[in-house]
């Protein structure tokens, strides 16, 4: 087919599952030059490579919008479903029942998730579907040429649109309020943090929400706008420096972290996230602290980034069902149609 397999004999670096980085790539991007979404697609490729994901074990999802185009730019060997505007959550919820060993990676935008898809977004959080849910958040509708989205800050001025009159929606706050189990925020201009958070999200069992501020270079990149590169660089307040250590590696605190300033959070599979404390003694397992931190950031005009909230104890959606070991979509008539002897019993149950 159309993906590039590593060539035999070529000196290509491969990961533990024998894949080169090329095996995680997608088609060329059709988004604007410099779009934050392209940078995120690249970090998804890197994170998947470093996490040794097998592309065939991943299903990609998206809604509609610029962000939702991006699943074609990574993991070309995976199944993908580019669905309806705001309805990625329901499609993914149903699809992932087909084979619960599959991991979902979904990419949505602020229009797709916080406006038209707000209902499905919140219900997906509370169902804890086993999926990485990335919101590429730029505060603007790109594909329809620059209207305000629900995450645009009040007072933002856009060409043709005038001044935004409405208060913005904070996606991370909405996720926490809806009982999401992994909530992180990052900035497309900080690729290292994006990648480390993506890796942690991939290791999380259940729904991992990443709200990534991803400037729109065409319609919303004025220096003073919240979703711009300049503003993001100037106002980013990381909660911690972050490093993700896969389960199979011996847990050694990375060199750049000083002993005594780190906090380690263990994931389901034994891997861990190492968080270097910065100014605050921040506990990402406390909902109270998480909401407090987001509120504080809003008041102080900070772009707070990092792992904001994590709960590794709640079961993922598929774990709440007592499903057979075989993937549901591999079951045959033998398992799916009750035997002929049962029909009499059923008729006897009627009057």
């Amino acid at each position: 087919m159309n993906q590039a397999l590593p060539m035999a004999g070529a000196n290509v670096q491969v990961n533990l599952v024998g894949m080169s980085k090329n095996d995680y790539r997608g088609l060329p991007s059709t988004l604007c030059q410099g779009c934050g979404h392209n940078s995120i697609a690249n970090q998804i490729i890197s994170a998947a490579y470093e996490m040794n994901l097998v592309p065939e074990n991943v299903v990609k999802f998206s809604g509609i919008g610029c962000s939702s185009k991006s699943p074609t730019y990574f993991l070309n060997r995976s199944f993908g479903f580019n669905g309806l505007h705001g309805r990625m959550p329901s499609i993914a919820t149903g699809a992932l029942f087909g084979d619960i060993t599959m991991k979902g990676i979904g990419v949505s935008g602020d229009g797709d998730s916080a406006s038209i898809g707000m209902g499905q977004f919140k219900h997906m959080m509370r169902r804890n579907v086993n999926m990485v849910y990335i919101v590429e958040n730029n505060g603007v509708y790109g594909l329809t040429k620059g209207q305000f989205s629900a995450t645009a800050e009040v007072g933002l001025t856009l060409k043709k649109q005038g001044i935004n009159q409405y208060m913005p929606i904070d996606i991370c706050m909405e996720a926490i309020a809806s009982n999401a189990t992994f909530v992180a925020r990052s900035f497309a201009g900080d690729p290292k943090q994006v990648k480390e958070l993506l890796k942690a999200a991939m290791a999380h069992k259940g729904l991992a929400l990443l709200d990534i501020i991803s400037p729109c270079v065409t319609f919303n990149n004025q220096d003073n706008a919240y979703h711009s590169y300049t503003w993001g660089k100037d106002h980013e307040a990381p909660l911690h420096e972050i490093s993700f250590i896969p389960a199979r590696d011996e847990i050694i605190i990375p060199d750049e972290f000083e002993e005594g300033t780190v906090r380690e959070v263990e994931m389901h599979d034994g891997s861990s996230i190492v968080l270097k404390k910065l100014e605050h003694d921040y506990d990402p397992t406390s909902r109270f602290q998480a909401l407090h931190k987001l509120e504080e950031a809003q008041e102080n005009n900070w772009l707070v980034t990092g792992l904001i909230y994590l709960d590794t104890k709640k079961p993922a959606l598929n774990e709440k069902y007592h499903l057979v070991d075989t993937a549901l979509n591999r079951l045959t008539e033998k398992e799916l149609r009750p035997g002929p002897e049962t029909i009499k019993q059923i008729n006897d149950l009627m009057f």
Binding site: V59, R77, F81, P89, M102, R337, F351
Partner: protein, 606 residues
Amino acid sequence: MTQRIVNDFSIVVGTANGSGSQTSNATILRALFKMGIPVSGKNLFPSNIQGLPTWYIIRASKDGYTARRDEREIVVAMNPNSFEKDQASVTPGGAFYYDDSIKAPVTRTDIVVYPMPVKQIVRNDPDIPSNLRDMIANMVYVGILAQMIGIDMEKIDAALSFAFKGRRKAVDLNLNVAKSAAAWAKANLEKKDPYYIEPMNKTDGLIMTDGNTAAAIGSIYGGVQFVGWYPITPATSLAEELNEYLPKLRKTPEGKETYAVVQAEDELAAIGMCVGAGWSGLRAMTSTSGPGLSLMTEFVGLAYFAEIPLVIWDVTRIGPSTGLPTRTSQGDLNFAANMGHGDTDNIILLPGSVNECFEFGWRAFDIAERIQTPVIVLSDLDFGMNQWMSEPFKYPDVPMDRGKILWEEDIKKLTEPWGRYLDKDGDGIPYRTLPGNRLPGSSYFTRGTGHDPYARYSEEAGVWETNMARIKKKFTTALEYLPKPVIENVDGARKGIITFGSTITAVHEARALLETEQGIKTNLLRLRALPIATEAKEFIAQQDKVYIVEMNRDGQLYEEILIAMPELASKLVSVAYSDGMPPTAKRITKEIMAMENTHKFGKESK
């Protein structure tokens, strides 16, 4: 006294919604059924939990007719708020039973009146806990009716045993009230009306059930694996029955489940989950009604275009808008057939009995997976929520058809590159792979945007047109997989009737009335699916005139047939009406006779 009228009348019980009369009404219905008398039971309930008037109509018909009638030979009035209306509704010469605590005047002199000392009879039974008194009071009319018209007390026992799942204490509590009431009636009431029940043997081997239960169980035999649903009257009980019977029928010996049911946050999510599940290879279904179906439109268009199998049960209620949520209709036919913007056609199944609700329950999945498209099954409130006699459910007589699916080994055997939307077999139906297929190169990217035979994004005009033509071809292929119309030809008949769904029950009776009262013999075609079968065209061509009888305002099936075969338009006459109530044979006969007499064709303004 006039001549006895046996096993051929309607009993209507008027109560207040939520007063616990369901058990009593079902008991009368089931007791008659167990006595071998053809019966049907219809619950006319308000959109309300407690307080508003509700009626239960039981029709006994020695001839086996199950349609609703307007005549009410026996009326039982338990609700002061509907007392006047109930009294006025009794057929002249009929019987009127009423709770004597209702302080309202009895004004009719052309009916037989039986006051019932309900409170006194219940009070005299020391075993009844005071908190159950009001509920159990409804057993008084069961006992009095049993005595006055001749229902076997042992059949009442059997009916109660079924209702209370054999819990003897509950059965006895109810049964004793019925017996005391019967004893009171024997001692105190003199039979003056002509209506009697006598045992027959016309229900031997039959079961009694409702369409939603039948659909749920049928779906389970069809191997349903995913249910995404949202509550809406009158479809709610379909999903609830799935929850009832799936654990009974579809757990492995180890107690593991081969299915998943998710109650969604709305119909958008319910259908979205089904689209996802159907895409990943699960037999997915949802149940809904008009307002929910409206919300599902965008997803149905996506599933049509991305070629994703799934099954939607629309248990139709009357609309538009919220309409009358507890009243029936066949008003969603056109909408369902074309739902989705742009060029869409959908496969519609039209069950004509609760038994077919079972059959189409499993068959719908075979068709959806074979054609790779949504299948919408149009039941309605009358089938879905009312009680019907039925042949027992019949085990599927054909193996499951999972359609064209390629797993790892299948792909390896291919000699040419596989394309998700490639028409390899010339029948319009492509091959699909499913997420979880681990063979590199088996995956594809699904989208609602334009795509070529290899599922690649394309805005090319020719690619679009070719793809849409191929999709259309699937619907010609579909004809060989869809249930054929049921045709009944009568010697010497030159006129035909076409109908579908629950309206058939009234049409059966109307045909008899047309023949016996008007001397008009009719042939019958009951349509069971859209797109319309070629047999329908042949049928119409053979008739001088064809009446298309349906339960909606505009004659929606008439319109579908007109579009499908405009050359036969001059033979078609629309007989359509809809008021929320299941149609009656008398009304249909009247409408047809009006058309016969005017000799006009097409739609008439009424």
